[in-house]
């Protein structure tokens, strides 16, 4: 993401996030879909308003970041603010089965085993 000096803006990231670089909801990852629950209100921080307009239809976090040309972490912090105030909801995708997250967790398998034993 290279930007020319011509495209720079006086806004700095530390002001946009109010100095926070952490504190984003861990449940938000790059592909979480977010959708706006309300329309932007006057007096809102412009990034928040932009996110609300962008997320009228479910939009991935990374997509929001690309549109705002902001780092994903910053967008996650902004989204967390909006989620906390209920203006945006996140839809977490179902995790794909993997080594650490197999379809059937040991708990489920154990329950099945117990149920089978009970038969």
């Amino acid at each position: 993401m290279t930007r020319s000096h011509r495209d720079e803006s006086p806004d700095r990231l530390h002001v946009i996030t109010g100095g926070r670089s952490r504190g984003a909801d861990d449940a938000l990852d790059a592909v979480t879909l977010v959708v706006a629950e309300s329309a932007p209100a006057p007096g809102m921080q412009s990034e928040h308003a932009a996110i609300l307009r962008l997320c009228r239809t479910p939009t991935a976090v990374v997509e929001v970041a690309a549109h705002l040309r902001l780092p994903v972490t910053v967008v996650r912090i902004l989204l967390t603010d909006l989620i906390d105030t209920g203006q945006v909801t996140a839809r977490h995708p179902a995790p794909a089965p993997s080594q650490s997250h197999p379809f059937a967790s040991p708990d489920v398998l154990e329950k099945v085993l117990v149920a089978l034993h009970n038969l």
């Binding site: 993401m1 290279t2 930007r3 020319s4 000096h5 011509r6 495209d7 720079e8 803006s9 006086p10 806004d11 700095r12 990231l13 530390h14 002001v15 946009i16 996030t17 109010g18 100095g19 670089s21 952490r22 984003a24 790059a30 329309a39 932007p40 209100a41 006057p42 007096g43 809102m44 921080q45 412009s46 990034e47 308003a49 932009a50 609300l52 307009r53 962008l54 997320c55 009228r56 239809t57 939009t59 997509e63 690309a66 549109h67 705002l68 040309r69 902001l70 780092p71 994903v72 972490t73 910053v74 996650r76």
Partner: protein, 523 residues
């Protein structure tokens, strides 16, 4: 005879009294004649002798006195002349000499132009004074220019550093870097921004230009946040609703700097737990930015001092050593004709109102509407009801127009800036690759760009009416020609099919990555 002296004192003032001295022997002569007449015959000889001697002596005395009186008059005249010369020198010639020396003329030349014969007595003094003033003036100019140069270099370096930091923040901000790299970068960013403000202050005080010039109008929200980013206690600053206005690019940096100084004062002189409130209001005369703190109430005397500091900011000689901030505000206010006023705040502290004149205020772009935002399926929000049609239009011109490769059109429309919010256009314009014509990036002044434009530009351009002068003639935008020459040749991306394909945009920004980034301080 001694009684003659006082009469003689008064004489020189009336220059016609000189012959009176020669009348002095006359009464003696009369007296002598009478004595000679009355005296017995045997005393005639001594009386004659004594009388004759007296008359001769008196005549000599009269002659000597007359000469002395002449001499005194002559000396008086010379003293008067010298005083006159001194007065002329001090009132007429020295100021002239100093002015010419300040304008950079050499001491020799200035001395030469003075009529030397006029002041023979003053010549050594003049030589000394002129050469000393000249030397002091040279030294002062050299010091100021050295400071200005040094400040300019620091400004250039901080601008580069800030750009680098932003790039690093972009590349490390995806959360994969592990430790809080983004946080560290933000911290550095903040420190560098404050350093830059110090350098800017030195530059302003030395009469140099401000750190950089923005080539486009900067939305008011970005102005305020840019000012916040440069002060220590920015987290205590609350920015309230900001009207939908932008500040002309040439003045933006100065105004950011002045606001930063005002905010810094407010944050510094209020308790660390209190907040500083910033309200921006549109008023008849322009934009009023009110900075209110909850700190100590400034007494009438302190307010007066602050006003005075700002008012005389134009004179560098009056600057006090420790309170540079207000002097900087004063200088910038003088340069851009801002008005700065201080008064007690209703919150208990002090309120500073900075009035930005209307000449510096540009509206954020509004243009003919096209179906941008509505395409996303939701009606415009009530918050943007002031100009519902404007949002889609702007979304199309700065957003989809110049950036043919950024996602699907409906989403772009949805992401378009709203007139109710200050920054979105800046975000949008700040985020587009360098390639698009700057005219499109600057909604308020979106004149047709002379340079190469993406293939889908014409449509946008048709919608963007060029700004018109009051006389009806189209106006060129400041820096436009330079921008056109600096813009790299359009890559194949611009001549290719102007579709809104994501991949294409990525390719283009990758190509642009090696493009010239320009000097950090270009205007």
């Amino acid at each position: 005879m001694s009684d003659k002296i006082p009469r003689d004192r008064g004489a020189p003032s009336s220059r016609s009294t000189e012959p009176l001295w020669f009348l002095l022997p006359v009464p003696a002569l009369l007296l002598w004649t009478w004595v000679f007449w009355e005296a017995p015959a045997d005393l005639t000889a001594p009386v004659l002798a004594a009388g004759g001697a007296t008359v001769v002596l008196l005549t000599v005395c009269a002659a000597l006195l007359a000469r002395r009186a002449r001499k005194v008059r002559e000396l008086d005249g010379r003293v008067d002349a010298v005083f006159d010369q001194a007065a002329t020198l001090a009132e007429r010639d020295l100021p002239r000499v100093i002015t010419r020396l300040r304008e950079g003329e050499s001491a020799e030349r200035v001395l030469h132009t003075l009529s030397r014969s006029e002041y023979p007595a003053w010549q050594p003094v003049l030589d000394l004074v002129v050469s000393e003033i000249s030397r002091a003036e040279r030294r002062r100019a050299a010091t100021v220019s050295a400071c200005a140069t040094a400040a300019g270099r620091i400004q250039a370096m901080t601008t580069t550093m800030l750009a680098d930091l932003r790039r690093m923040q972009d590349s490390h901000g995806d959360g994969t870097a592990g430790a809080d790299v983004l946080g560290d970068l933000m911290h550095l960013d903040h420190t560098v921004a404050r350093t830059g403000r110090t350098a800017d202050s030195i530059a302003v005080l030395t009469g140099a230009r401000s750190g950089r010039r923005w080539s486009r109008a900067i939305p008011m929200e970005s102005i305020a946040r840019g000012a916040m980013s440069r002060i220590g206690g920015y987290q205590r600053v609350r920015l309230h609703h900001v009207p939908d206005q932008a500040i002309a690019g040439f003045a933006a940096e100065g105004i950011i700097h002045a606001l930063a100084e005002v905010l810094d004062n407010a944050a510094k002189f209020s308790p660390p737990t209190s907040e500083v409130h910033v309200h921006v209001e549109e008023v008849q005369a322009g934009l009023a930015v009110m900075v209110e703190d909850g700190g100590l109430v400034m007494g009438e005397e302190a307010l007066g001092r602050a006003r005075e500091t700002v008012a005389r900011g134009a004179d560098i000689g009056e600057i006090s050593g420790t309170r540079l901030g207000l002097s900087v505000v004063g200088l910038i206010a003088h340069r851009y004709e801002l008005s700065v006023s201080f008064r007690p705040s209703s919150r208990g502290g002090t309120a500073v109102v900075v009035l930005l004149p209307r000449t510096l205020v540009k509206p954020l772009a509004t243009g003919p509407t096209t179906g941008g935002a509505p395409a996303s399926g939701l009606p415009p929000s009530p918050g943007r009801g002031s100009a519902p049609g404007a949002a889609p239009a702007r979304g199309n011109s700065p957003g989809t127009g110049p950036v043919p490769g950024q996602g699907t059109p409906p989403v772009q429309g949805a992401g378009s800036p709203s007139p109710g919010q200050g920054t979105p256009p800046a975000r949008g314009t700040a985020s587009v690759p360098p390639e698009p014509a700057p005219a499109a990036q600057v909604p308020p002044t979106g004149s047709p760009a002379p340079g190469p434009a993406p293939a889908d530009r014409p449509a946008t351009e048709d919608r963007d009416t060029p700004p018109r002068h009051s006389s009806g003639l189209p106006m060129r935008r400041r820096g436009q020609t330079l921008a056109a020459t600096q813009r790299p040749e359009p890559g194949p991306a611009t001549s290719g099919p102007a579709t809104s394909s994501q991949g294409f945009g990525a390719f283009r920004s990758a190509v642009r990555g090696q493009g010239p980034t320009g000097t950090p301080k270009d205007g």
